[in-house]
Symmetry: C2
Subunit: 110 residues, 2 copies
């Protein structure tokens, strides 16, 4: 029943990036990683009011789209924001919004 394949690659890609940000837990995880000084791993579960399992799944989704990386360090995993990738995503969103705002339609916003 899903018809996403009927749209362009670019459209699907943008939609996927947006989807990654479409849950407050994932926003919270990104914000936490940004302010934590030490790439803390599963302690994230303690900072987020959800079970470890659920946090782990959200981390997996963020990893899938490249927002974060997780490097194994013995028994622990250090999760980090991927700053280069974030910069790139930010810029893709920017390009999209700029394209929306580029040609204001004279018949609109009268």
């Amino acid at each position: 029943m899903l018809k996403t394949e009927l749209f362009t690659e670019k459209q699907q890609q943008l939609a996927q990036l947006a989807r990654a940000l479409s849950h407050p837990a994932r926003i919270a995880i990104l914000a936490y990683l940004a302010q934590s000084s030490s790439c803390i791993s599963g302690d994230i579960s303690n900072e987020i009011p959800l079970s470890r399992t659920t946090v782990s799944q959200h981390l997996t989704e963020l990893k899938k789209l490249g927002f974060i990386s997780g490097t194994v360090e013995g028994v622990k995993v250090n999760y980090c924001l991927d700053n280069a990738r974030l910069q790139q995503i930010k810029s893709e969103l920017d390009v999209f919004f700029n394209s929306l705002l580029a040609n204001p339609n004279p018949q609109c916003n009268l």
Copy 2:
């Protein structure tokens, strides 16, 4: 089973904005409105490979978050991007990404 209420207003708000962009049909609709010269209404259904019903629902979602406005004009409805609101949304996303990128963690990206 949903626990979105456990997160901050700001986090929920951002997640909702992102959710509005999380389907390629909605991206396509925004892109179409940006390049169409005449605020065309339900002709959008003809430009998007989905039924009129489904397009109407996507339009409703975009309206709910303020991305677009729909003004009745006789039998037709003129859909328009809300440029001021788009600018605002763009800036909210920007602020969020900047907050993520502001304090690069020295333990990451080594």
